[in-house]
Amino acid sequence: MPAVLRLLARRLGISLIVLAGVSMLIFGIARVIPGDPARIALGPNATGEQVAGLRQALHLDDPVAVQYGHFVADLLRGDLGVSLYTNRPVTLDIAQFLPATLELVLFAGVLMVGIGLPLGMWSASQRGRWPDHLIRVVSLLGVSAPSFVWAVMLMLMFAFFLPVFPIAGRITDSFEITRVTGFLLIDTLLAGNGAAFVDALRHIFLPAFALAVSGIGQAARLTRANMVETYDRPYIEMARAYGFPAGRIAAKYAFKPSLIPSLTIIGLDFAAMLGNAFLVEAVFAWPGLSRYGVAVILRKDLNAIIGTVLIISATFLIVNLIVDLLIAFLNPRIRHSERGAR
C-alpha cells in the first residue's frame, strides 16, 4: 500500500518538526526560571567558585541558542542530562517511572474504547428512547468533572465504603516480581504468577477507571452523534428495507463510517489522559512519571522538567501517528487513493 506508506512518511516528518518545536518551547520555558539553577542545585553553602564551575559544566553562561545546541546534541545521543535533585541521569529516572504511567494510561484507554464505543452505539440505535436519554445524560456527567473528582469519589465508594478494591499502590508488597517490561500486568504473567496478576489488576482498575471516565463519556457522545448522522443515510434505509437484522445494520453499516471521526477524538482524549494522570496518580499514590513530574517541577529541576515534558509529548505524538495510520487503513478513500491523503 504505497499511499499509506507515503502518508506515514509525511506524518512522521511533520511529527519530527513538531517535536523539535516542542523541545524549543519547553527549553524556552525552562530557561526563564528565576534564580540560578547551579546555585539551587549546590545549595546555599557552596562557594562562588563551585557555582561558577557548575555553571560552566552546564553551559549556563553561553547564549541561549548555544545552550539549546548543546541540549539537542546531548539529546541525539540519548542524554537528557543529570537530574539536579536525584543526581541520576534523567533518562534513568524516566525509564524507572514511565512504565507505570504508560500502563495506567493504556489500561484507561482500553476501558475508554471498550466501554465508550458500545455505549454510544447502543445509544444511537435506541435513539429517542429512554436508554438513549439516560446514556446521553450520564456521558455528559462523565465529562463534567475533572478526573481527580472521579478518583476521590470512586475511592470513597469502592475502596472505603465498599472495600472491593485496594486504596493505593500498584501491587501488594509481598509479591516479588522480576522487572522485565515494567508493565506489572505483563510481568506477572511472564512470571506465571496468577495471584500477583489478579492483585495488580485489582490495583490498576480503580485509578484507570477514574482516568477513563471523561474519555468514556466523550467517546460515547461522539460515537452516538456520528452514528445518528449515518443512520439518516439512504444506504441504511436500503439495508432496513432488505430486512437486515438491526444488530448487523448497527455494527456493519452504521458503526464503521462513524468510527473514523471518533478515532481522531480518541487520540486527543489519550493526550488528555496523559495530563490527567498527574491528578489520578496523586490520589492513588501511583508510582509513575506524573508524580515524578510534579516533584521535579516543585523543585525547579530543569533537566528533569524538560525530559519529562519531552517524553510525554513524544508519547502523545506516537499515539497520534498510530491513530492517523488506523484512520488511513479504515478509510478506503485514503487506502486506495493514488496521491495519499490531502
Binding site: I29, L141, V143, P146, F148, M153, A225, G275, F278, S313
Partner: protein, 277 residues
C-alpha cells in the same frame, strides 16, 4: 437570538443547564449576602467547630480550622468563574486572529502559524500548564496565563478550518473583486460566519477551563490558600478520607454542578446553531 432563547428554555435538559449556571453565577455574585459566614472566605480559625460533618449550623460541614464549607464553596465559585471568563476573553481573540490569517492567507503564513499551533497542541493540555506553573509563581494571574497559553490553539484550529472552507465561497470572491483589503475580507466578511461555532465552543469551554483550573490548584500549582478554591479544597480533604468525607465530596460536587450546567447549555447551543465542529 430570541429564537435561540426560546428553544433553550423549552428543552428540559437545557433548561436545567440554565438553572444550574444561573444558580452558580448568582451565588458567586451575591456570596456576601447568601453565605452564612462571609468572613470564612479568608484565614479564620474556629476551633470550637472544626472538622465537623454537616449540621444545621454548617449544612456542608466545616473544614480543618472550623470554617463553614458552604460559604467557602460560594466564594470559590467566584474564582472559578473569573478564571474562566478571563482565560476565554484572552484566548479566543488570539486564536481567532491566528486562525483567520492562516486560513485566508495560505502559503508560508499558513504553514508557519499552523505548525506553531500544532506545537502547542502536541503537549498534552494539562502538562503544558503544569510546566508553566512550575516556572511561574503560583498566583491567580499566572494560573490564568498558563491556562490561556494552552487554550488559544484550539480556537486557531477551529477558525482555521472554517476559514479554509469559507475562503472558496462566492461572497469572499465578490469582496476581493471590488478590491476589499485583507483585513476587511477576514474580519468583516469571514469572521461573522465563524461566530456561531466560536460562541458554542466558548460555552462548552467555560466548563473545561473550570476543570483545568481546579486541576492546577489540586496539584498546588494554582490559587494559594487562604483564598477558597474548589481544587485545593478537594486536595486538602483527600488526605482525610474516608472519615471527613464532606471535605472532598461537597467541593467535588460543586465542580460537577457548575461544569455540568455549562455543558448542558453548550450542547443545546451546538444543536441550535448547527455548528458541529
Amino acid at each position: 437570538m430570541r429564537r435561540t432563547t426560546v428553544i433553550l428554555l423549552r428543552n428540559p435538559l437545557s433548561m436545567l443547564g440554565v438553572v444550574l449556571v444561573a444558580a452558580v453565577v448568582i451565588s458567586a455574585a451575591l456570596a456576601d449576602y447568601i453565605a452564612p459566614f462571609p468572613e470564612h472566605r479568608g484565614a479564620v480559625v474556629d476551633f470550637v467547630h472544626f472538622n465537623q460533618g454537616p449540621t444545621a449550623r454548617n449544612v456542608m460541614g466545616t473544614d480543618l480550622v472550623g470554617r463553614d464549607l458552604f460559604s467557602r464553596i460560594l466564594y470559590a465559585f467566584r474564582i472559578s468563574l473569573l478564571l474562566g471568563v478571563v482565560v476565554l476573553a484572552i484566548a479566543t481573540p488570539i486564536g481567532t486572529f491566528v486562525g483567520l490569517l492562516a486560513g485566508y492567507l495560505g502559503g508560508r503564513a499558513e504553514f508557519a502559524l499552523m505548525r506553531l499551533t500544532d506545537v502547542f497542541l502536541s503537549i498534552p493540555p494539562l502538562v503544558l500548564a503544569i510546566a508553566m506553573m512550575g516556572v511561574l509563581e503560583p498566583t491567580l494571574l499566572n494560573a490564568m496565563l498558563a491556562v490561556t497559553a494552552m487554550w488559544w490553539p484550539w480556537y486557531a484550529r477551529l477558525v482555521y478550518n472554517i476559514t479554509r472552507s469559507e475562503r472558496e465561497e462566492g461572497y469572499v470572491l465578490a469582496a476581493e473583486v471590488i478590491g476589499a483589503s485583507t483585513l476587511h475580507v477576514t474580519f468583516r466578511e469571514i469572521l461573522p460566519n465563524c461566530l456561531p461555532a466560536i460562541i458554542t465552543k466558548m460555552t462548552l469551554d467555560m466548563g473545561f477551563v473550570i476543570i483545568i483550573a481546579s486541576s492546577l490548584s489540586f496539584l498546588g500549582l494554582g490559587v494559594q490558600p487562604p483564598t477558597p478554591d474548589l481544587g485545593s479544597m478537594v486536595a486538602e480533604g483527600a488526605r482525610y478520607l474516608p472519615d471527613s468525607w464532606w471535605l472532598t465530596v461537597f467541593p467535588g460536587l460543586a465542580i460537577l454542578v457548575a461544569v455540568f450546567g455549562f455543558n448542558l447549555i453548550g450542547d443545546a447551543l451546538r444543536e441550535i446553531l448547527g455548528a458541529d465542529q
